[in-house]
Amino acid sequence: MSLLEVQNLRVTFDTETGPVQAVRGVSFSLGRERLGIVGESGSGKTMTGRSVLRLIRPPGRIEADRMVFDGQDLMAASERDMRALRGKRIGMVMQDPKYSLNPVMNVGEQLTEGLRRRDRIGGAEARAKAIAALEAVQIRDPERVMAAYPHELSGGMGQRVMIAMMLIPEPDLLIADEPTSALDVTVQAEVLSILDALVRDRGMGLIFISHDLRLVGRFCDRVLVMYKGRVVEELEAKHLTEAQHPYTRGLLNCLPRIGGPRGPLPGLDRSGDWAQEGVA
């Protein structure tokens, strides 16, 4: 059975100049696997991820024919039900640790806050769990990191702290929105292998949102390619190089390659029918 099922998801923002559709009818289902969502800025990939947690503020509206997580209808769930799901069963890792961690709380307090408030666990036990979580994301000196404030951590460390925080409640589904975009390539590889191990060992489902097609192709099982709020192509990651859709092909071709030809890089041709507004 699939863990998450989304049918005809639409996100609309009512603006002064009329409604703007950020997501226009996205459908997918997810098992205990790694699903990548790729697209350029404005393609609606982040909005799709946030919709699953119903984290879209007015004037934004979420509509869907069906959005079911593990048998529970997310569209009909009350705000109280959603709060019970968020974090505990569905976790989300945001893009930038600089803005997503509380700057005036040390890491230890942030990691144990949820355990103490939500799970009513005592201080010493919560601390032990937090340290174990930091060790799980391969932080070598968890005691020091527990006492540190976010500004004292490097980008890679901050990102790992966020992943650790999301993993403490052992969610069934993790939504990672550009979790490695702010990181250096070698650190990026480490964070990805941590996520990979967690999916394998805990049987977690993962939605991996990224603008980097090659990264997603390497890391995920299945890839959704989004453009202007629609899924233009869905394919197995290992067949990414055989993608048919002109947008996917364009995205792949416009990247420079080491030892590649020196001439101008092919641009993305947006003149095709697929690129026009209002095409179903």
Partner: protein, 257 residues
């Protein structure tokens, strides 16, 4: 003779009484019309070298020469006419309350160069922007369009040398391709010399003839383009950067089973 000669450059900052050695003993030389790349992870000191060149970071050891002359502090107007810089974040490097017209004509006004009207129009056309953008503000432009404005601004004084600090890392892949193509074309047309910083080895490889790999403020290894493509690096660090580079990932031979 090389156009840019950096000899044993050190940059040390004093932060809260603690010495931070951002760059330690780096030497490099760039010939006229060459395109030279600096690659490394955050904190490797690659951007600091560009900033030291411009006088934005203190040179605490070694020397920087351009066209054989040692650079003086302050840099002076002659320097701005020879060397210009394009910054990483097009959202932060353009004045939000100045129109594109004002942004582009300001360097001309400072240097007392006339005919700014025609020059602004030509600059916009050269970087592939419609002239109707002239009286817009930065917030009315996309990231790629803003970076084109930043490039146009850097070219207003017709410099010989362009310092590029991660010029495309804030842009989408397809926009990155357009901006890289634009930079390549401008370099060919105007005979510019590039000193370019990036964390993306594939971008550096596409744009540069030679590349210096940096780590912790030190030069690790200098590679010619052919050696990089053929993976003929001699240091472990340069190899690890090469292996982790995103474009290796779709290589069928390298894909994980």
């Amino acid at each position: 003779m090389s156009l840019i000669e950096i000899d044993d450059l050190s940059v040390t900052f004093n932060a809260k009484g603690r010495e931070v050695r951002a760059v330690e003993g780096v030497s490099l030389s760039v010939a006229a019309r060459e395109s030279y790349g600096l690659v490394g992870e955050s904190g490797s000191g690659k951007s600091t070298i560009l900033r030291a060149l411009c006088g934005l970071a203190p040179v605490t050891g070694g020397s920087i020469r351009i066209g054989g002359e040692v650079l003086r502090m302050p840099r002076g107007p002659g320097f701005s006419r020879r060397v210009q810089m394009v910054f990483q974040d097009p959202y932060a490097s353009l004045h939000p309350r100045h129109t594109i017209d004002r942004t582009l004509s300001e360097p001309l006004a400072i240097h007392g160069i006339g005919g700014s009207d025609a020059k602004v129009v030509k600059a916009l056309t050269d970087v592939g922007l419609p002239t109707s953008f002239r009286f817009r503000y930065p917030h009315q432009l996309s990231g790629g369009q803003r970076q084109r404005v930043a490039i146009a601004r850097a070219l207003m004084l017709e410099p010989e040398i362009l310092l590029l600090d991660e010029p495309t890392s804030a842009l989408d892949a397809s926009v990155q391709a357009e901006v890289l193509n634009l930079l390549d074309r401008l370099r060919a047309e105007r005979g510019l010399t590039f000193l370019m910083v990036s964390h993306d080895l594939a971008v550096i490889d596409h744009m540069c003839d030679r590349v210096l790999v940096m780590q912790h403020g030190r030069a690790v290894e200098e590679l010619a383009r052919d050696d990089l493509a053929a993976a003929r690096m001699t240091t472990a660090y340069a190899r690890s950067l090469f292996e982790a580079s995103a474009d290796r990932m779709l290589d069928p031979a390298k894909a994980p089973a």
